[in-house]
Assembly symmetry: C2
Homo-oligomer: 219 residues x 2
């Protein structure tokens, strides 16, 4: 029974890792669509979202079965409940990548706002890294790494503020670019929200381990 439980827990971790990798890829690809002005990649990204949705249902199912069949307690139970929450966050990150694609469509029909490509790429790189690190922290119950993700979220918020200020200044100079600049603001905000979801996952990781500490304290 114990061995089966551990096997199933490993399946859960691997499926979370797979889903996270897919969300990271979608984020990177969505920003590349914008920066490389390559709308042809959009349908490919949308296809990936279907896979994310399938994995989300699969992960919820694994969590349900793990609890119903093995009645885990304490740290294992917290890990599984945290996985249910983490799963929801990973799915919403994929939604953010799709939101970016939705803005990329109209943006690519207009001349580029070149100034901003660099900033967005950097933001996307940081957001992707935060997703990877938070998930790694989660499956490995690594609180140090989780705390590092929380700190990097401030960095991402700063990047978003800088891009927002640059875009506001551009709009004030040239009303012809207002629509595009607002779309770009939405793109940057989606990256910032991805960071928020990574933060949630990092907090889940701390919850799993902090709960363990409390239990040890009682022992």
């Amino acid at each position: 029974m114990e061995r089966h439980f551990d096997e199933q827990l490993t399946v859960l971790k691997n499926t979370l890792i797979k889903m996270s990798a897919l969300s990271e890829t979608m984020i990177t690809e969505a920003i590349r669509v914008l920066c490389e002005r390559n709308a042809a990649a959009i349908p490919h990204i949308r296809k990936r979202e279907e896979e994310v949705n399938r994995l989300q249902i699969e992960i919820d199912g694994i969590c349900l079965r793990l609890i119903a069949l093995y009645q885990p307690t304490a740290g294992d139970l917290r890990f599984i409940l945290g996985a249910v929450k983490t799963n929801a966050d990973l799915e919403r990150m994929a939604d953010m990548a799709i939101n970016i694609c939705d803005k990329a469509g109209p943006l690519l029909e207009e001349p580029p706002l070149d100034l901003l490509n660099t900033g967005l790429s950097e933001m996307a790189a940081l957001a992707s890294q935060m997703v990877k690190d938070s998930l790694h922290a989660y499956v490995n119950r690594a609180t140090d790494q989780a705390h590092a993700v929380l700190l990097r979220d401030d960095e991402l918020d700063d990047m978003n503020r800088r891009i927002t200020a640059d875009l506001l200044a551009l709009m004030q100079k040239d009303s012809g670019i207002i629509k595009r600049a607002v779309d770009m603001l939405v793109v940057a905000r989606n990256l910032e929200r991805i960071g928020d979801h990574a933060t949630n996952i990092a907090e889940n990781a701390i919850f799993v381990v902090k709960g363990l500490d409390v239990r040890h304290h009682h022992e």
Copy 2:
């Protein structure tokens, strides 16, 4: 044992209802701050967020204890896992209300963009109603009501699109209002995201019951 479980399940439902009511109130109050230009209410709303955060931890704790002590299965287990997810959505709605307060501060230091107050109030009323209905659908496992929430989300998205178009037009006419209009866009988008969270809760409600249907099918 069975009776204790039912009692604890009722505690879970009542705590979810309490948290939802608090989030609804925060949304309504945050928009009232903007529309009535009353910054004095902001600290009060921030105070409420602390209570929301406290309730979030309490609800996670109830869910953990319910599973660990009573080993629920099937529909009850799905209900509790759904409550963990619903809890996260309710907490994020309160965050959106705080985001609105964050934008209200600078907005109230400038002359009002009167045109938009009505649209925002309507959006906030619909978003609050969706929160109420989705939570009601959840605790009562009422799939009809849950489906109704999913449909109303389209309405909310339309409102957001209309307000966005109005604001873009205003900005193009008068570059002096760009900063305020972008802040208002963020407010409207936060209301739209509250609708997304209500939609998540409605989907959770359907998941609880659809699972039940599947189980009945197997029987």
